[in-house]
């Protein structure tokens, strides 16, 4: 019974972690521009993240190491430095985008420009990390994230042609704007396969003191949680595809266009739901990315870490999240467009995947860490596929950034 409850909570948490500004913005853009044609990118990204999250949880439960610990220990400091720097940089941009997402929600709600909210949002997020416990952040905040289910409700109420949605799950070539199409596919993949998600998950498994009895729960949480998360993304895509072009928007390049999405379904409450979804989902993600920055540095250098300890007893750890939250708020406070930043950082995330995913191939096949719970053929094939995908994306992202970006 306790395990079932934990699985349920884990799933809710994963949904909260999955849906953030990246997946919302990329899914909305894709739906508006290419109808259901990019559903496959969400499906593919979700399958990839299921595998990686399951492996991160299994690695932590069996070896009692987080992924960051594992990379440092297995490959040495000089190798560890590269994924460390890459993930710190990408997390910095993603966190900036999430703070931007909350700030936009506040702008939509109040009419006061988003840049004025950035530092306030950072301060509020910091207060949560400063005073809160891991349980509060993991469970409380992501429980609120369930409000994003309104996109699924909206998608169902709009009565899409489900046959067409299903047809979108098979990749096809677009009739127009090829470069833009592929750029969106890359951004969607980057938004779904976020390194912070699986790194955070492995830290969470250690914070919650998982052992091998959690292997089944881990599998269920990874599969169901990420599937639900992906379902909400598809919900966003469907709603965007059915609503935005009908109002003459086939190119989402301004976040002011987005609240329109839910209004035809829910009326005024659609506006409220959109603002709440955006604000809560991005706030939860900002908390998780902020914590992940501190986890990564503390684990990489062997300092004490843990969200349940008082900042006084954990000065290095709390300094890292304090600094990274406020630094990430600066670009938004200076007026950088959160939507552009989001799309850019999602594409860059996709390109960075080889650096953060190659270690999985070694760690999850090393008996000294995972004993007999090594990767099977399918899991290894998935890792190799994600690495190859990452390499291709790294090569195509840069030219697409120039020719296809909005």
């Amino acid at each position: 019974m306790k395990k079932l409850l934990e699985i349920a909570l884990g799933i809710v948490t994963s949904i909260g972690g999955f849906l953030e500004i990246g997946s919302m913005a990329t899914a909305a853009q894709a739906g508006a521009a290419f109808h259901f044609q990019l559903v496959w990118a969400v499906v593919l990204g979700t399958i990839c993240i299921i595998f990686l999250v399951e492996m991160a949880g299994r690695f932590a439960a069996i070896s009692h190491h987080t992924i960051a610990d594992g990379i440092r220990e297995r490959f040495g400091f000089n190798v560890f430095l590269w994924p460390l720097l890459a993930i710190l940089l990408i997390n910095f941009m993603v966190m900036s985008a999430e703070i931007g997402g909350v700030a936009i929600a506040l702008e939509l709600a109040t009419g006061i420009g988003f840049q004025w909210w950035a530092l306030l949002v950072a301060l509020l997020a910091w207060l949560f990390l400063w005073k809160g416990t891991f349980g509060l952040i993991e469970k409380g905040v992501s429980m609120l994230g369930l409000v994003t289910l309104c996109f699924v409700a909206g998608a169902v109420m709009l009565k899409p042609d489900w046959g067409q949605v299903a047809a979108g799950a098979v990749p096809t070539l677009p009739a127009h704007d090829r470069a833009n199409y592929w750029f969106m596919a890359v951004s969607i993949l980057g938004a779904s396969i976020s390194p912070y998600l699986f790194m955070f998950y492995s830290s969470g498994a250690i914070e919650d003191q998982w052992d091998r009895s959690y292997l089944g729960a881990n599998r269920a949480i990874a599969f169901l949680g990420m599937t639900f998360g992906g379902t909400i993304s598809i919900g966003v895509l469907i709603v965007a595809a059915l609503v935005l072009p009908a109002h003459g928007i086939d190119q989402v390049d301004d976040y002011h266009q987005l609240p329109l999405m839910l209004i035809p379904v829910f009326g005024f409450w659609g506006f409220v739901l959109f603002v709440a979804s955006l604000g809560i989902a991005c706030f939860g993600a900002a908390l998780e990315v902020g914590l992940q920055q501190a986890y990564l540095v503390a684990q990489g250098f062997g300092w004490t870490w843990g969200e349940d300890q008082k900042p006084r007893d954990n000065p290095g750890f709390s300094t890292v999240y304090t600094l990274s939250l406020f630094l990430s708020a600066l670009p938004i406070a200076f007026g950088l467009d959160p939507l552009k930043l989001t799309i850019f950082s999602m594409a860059l995330t996709a390109a960075s995947l080889p650096l953060s995913v190659i270690p999985f191939l070694f760690l999850l096949n090393d008996e000294r860490y995972v004993g007999k719970h090594r990767n099977g053929m399918i899991s290894n094939a998935a890792v190799v596929f994600i690495i190859a995908l990452g390499f291709v994306l790294a090569v195509v992202t840069i030219p697409l950034q120039i020719f296809g970006g909005t």
Partner: protein, 120 residues
């Protein structure tokens, strides 16, 4: 035991299980006519910088000495004979409070973190 594989870069804890760092470096003692022996482990930014190259090592040593005083111009060392247990972490029979390893964290606590309301 393979030193680089099994010791280097592992988590180090003191006898109270406080995480104090990683095994950033190993100090081997060369003995004439006999195989070398591990004498100590090293921790800290200077050792890490030395792993990246001689020049980063020198820069970091100079920086550390400037920020932390002369006794911080050398890496922290823990004698190998203090090792108590090698498992997920490597436990040494020391108390981190009696070393200079946490000086920078203590400084942070006393001058920055501890002064912010609600630090506990």
């Amino acid at each position: 035991m393979d030193l680089v594989r099994d010791i280097l870069d592992k988590q180090v804890v003191d006898r109270e299980q406080v995480k104090i760092g990683k095994v950033d470096g190993l100090v081997a003692e060369l003995r004439p006519g006999k195989p070398p022996r591990v004498a100590a482990i090293e921790l800290g930014s200077i050792t890490l910088a030395r792993r990246l190259g001689r020049r980063p090592g020198r820069w970091m040593a100079r920086l550390a000495a400037k920020l932390g005083g002369k006794d911080h111009g050398e890496p922290h060392r823990i004698a190998w004979n203090k090792v108590r247990d090698i498992g997920v972490d490597i436990e040494f029979d020391i108390d981190v409070r009696e070393t200079a390893i946490f000086d920078w964290q203590n400084w942070l606590r006393d001058h920055v973190i501890g002064r912010i309301p609600g630090a506990g």
